[in-house]
């Protein structure tokens, strides 16, 4: 009797392994949580220094059009107006998503419904390849092909929102496409048969049932694409012109939040206003990615209830 009780209560090899395993995974999780919190804290504390230490007003920062953090204007105020970059960032993001979405959904439909066998076999590797190409290569192609082409068509330097949009279009296309493919594959085939059995053509089935049933997940795909476009730095920096000026049209040189960061973060001194102002831009990027995340979650939740 005692023998059995002892055996039952004594820690076995398996239960010791269990404890060790748990300790290891909790340690890793703790390390990552600490890392994330410190990144958030670091960016936030630096980002708000512009407003707390340097006493720039938030409104001035968000609505000002002059960006020249090193110098003071006539009133003795530092020139840290981020509006041109905010406008440009949003413009390229939204335009790229608008242009890419129809293409992405068309390609995805081709792969899932129109030619599921050969289409997917051929296009899947193409998409994976496009994802794998480093952004500097996209930027380089943009710089050597797209920018001269636009210069030829519209004059000027050729850099600007249009060039940025074209480069980002190619970059977000695979993201939106592969997520759209997932979205469409998740629509059960019996919806398709039900629609066809009611006398719908394939095209009617696609736009009346398929796209509608997949809509929440398709929107999520687009937002993922937008998040990628918003955060892309290198390729955009190479074609946008990098002049912090309010874009007057699609082909004047301007600058996005990210391109300004990559261009200038190495040229400023920690703790000075020009450096802090860049951190404030980073803070905007952080907040925006938070917004994108929230959107994806909200839409995802609504989609779940529906289907």
């Amino acid at each position: 009797m005692d023998e059995i009780q002892k055996k039952l209560t004594a820690p076995s090899k398996a239960s010791r392994e269990d404890v060790t395993g748990r300790i290891i995974s909790y340690t890793c999780i703790a390390a990552i949580i600490i890392l994330v919190i410190s990144i958030l804290y670091f960016i936030t504390s630096r980002g708000i220094a512009t407003f707390t230490t340097n006493h720039v007003s938030l409104w001035q920062f968000l609505s000002g059009k002059e960006w020249n953090p090193g110098t003071l204007n006539a009133k003795g105020q530092p020139q840290v107006g981020a509006l041109p970059m905010i406008v440009t960032s949003f413009s390229v993001t939204i335009l790229a998503a608008l242009v890419a979405t129809p293409f992405a959904i068309a390609v995805a439909l081709f792969m899932t419904d129109i030619a599921p066998k050969n289409g997917a076999k051929f296009l899947q590797p193409v998409i994976e390849l496009l994802v794998g190409i480093p952004s500097v290569v996209y930027g380089f192609i943009g710089l050597t092909v797209v920018v001269p082409f636009i210069r030829h068509l519209f004059g000027g330097t050729g850099s600007g929102i249009l060039a940025g949009t074209i480069v980002l279009f190619v970059m977000v296309l695979p993201t939106i496409t592969s997520l759209s493919v997932d979205a469409l594959r998740a629509v059960p085939t019996y919806f398709r048969s039900a629609s066809l059995a009611l006398g719908a053509t394939r095209f009617q089935t696609i736009y009346k049932v398929l796209l509608r049933a997949a809509m929440p997940r398709l929107l999520t795909a687009v937002i993922f694409g937008m998040a990628r476009a918003f955060g892309e730095a290198l390729a955009v920096q190479m074609v946008i012109g990098n002049a912090v000026l309010m874009p007057r049209n699609l082909v004047t040189p301007t600058s996005t939040l990210t391109s300004q960061l990559t261009t200038n973060i190495g040229n400023t001194i920690m703790g000075t206003l020009p450096n802090n102002a860049l951190w404030s831009l980073a803070l905007i990027l952080l907040l925006m990615s938070l917004v994108f995340n929230l959107l994806i979650r909200c839409i995802g939740k609504r989609g779940e209830i529906k289907s």
Partner: protein, 251 residues
């Protein structure tokens, strides 16, 4: 009784393998025909031939004649979309679209180009009443059809089909995913519908066949073994295999 659909010498092959080896079967208007037989004998395959849903499966060849109102449904001139409106199908798994009940039932009508709201309202009410789900759905026409019970969903699917006023209704094991009470409700619905429609139902439930079907056809390994009045088939089957199957000796 007049046969509305006549099939002769139906052979079907998936890829390389022949699955139906010459089936001859007539279907009467205003009656229910049950297709029974062990799993894998080709009942669903045969049923899908009747509204050409097998066309969707690549490398499938169908031969034989299918006379529907005297016209061959496999003729090159057949308008598939029209055909499927006249010969509609209800599937094993209830499959309403994830839209409102109203949108589900009007789906086929809108495909046919009907947009008059008054007409649509009328047809929705008629179809839901015919399918015996009007009482459960009349106050919830804008509710998502997926939020109803399985049996209600299946009757919504039947209503969705009835809205386009088909001639023939094909049902592939429509109650196999449902509880006995929902199944009984569907059976009642079908019995009421046979006054207006030609109904062809595949079922594994022999009691169900004996309860509702006017005629029953027994299939085995891609062949039609026997078809007859249900009452005759269940009491005095002509074929030994039929008798064995009905007595649960196999399948």
């Amino acid at each position: 009784m007049t046969a509305i659909l006549k099939t002769r010498d139906v052979h079907l092959s998936y890829a390389k393998q022949e699955t139906l080896h010459g089936v001859n079967l007539d279907f009467d208007d205003h009656s229910i025909t049950a297709l029974i037989g062990p799993s894998g004998c080709g009942k669903s395959t045969f049923l899908r031939c009747l509204n050409r849903m097998n066309d969707l499966i690549p490398k499938t060849t169908v031969t034989g004649s299918f006379q529907f109102h005297g016209k061959d449904i496999y003729a090159p001139t057949t308008n598939l979309v029209e055909l499927r409106k006249q010969i509609g199908m209800v599937f094993q798994q209830p499959n309403p679209f994830p839209f409102s009940v109203y949108e589900n039932v009007t789906y086929g009508l809108k495909l046919a180009g009907h947009t008059n709201r008054h007409y649509l309202d009328e047809q929705v009410e008629r179809a839901l009443k015919q399918a015996a789900v009007w009482d459960e759905t009349k106050d919830a026409l804008n509710k998502n059809a997926m939020s109803f019970s399985g049996g209600q969903q299946q009757r919504i699917c039947i209503a969705r089909l009835l809205a386009v006023q088909p001639d023939i209704i094909l049902l592939d094991e429509p109650t196999s995913a449902l509880d006995p009470i929902s199944s009984a409700q569907i059976e009642t619905t079908l019995l009421a519908l046979k006054k207006t429609y030609c109904i062809i139902i595949v079922t594994h439930n022999l009691q169900q066949a004996s309860r509702i079907a006017d005629r029953t056809a027994f299939m085995l390994n891609g062949n039609l073994i026997e078809d007859d009045l249900t009452s005759k088939m269940f009491t005095k089957p002509a074929n030994q295999a039929t008798s064995d199957y009905l007595n649960g000796k196999f399948g």
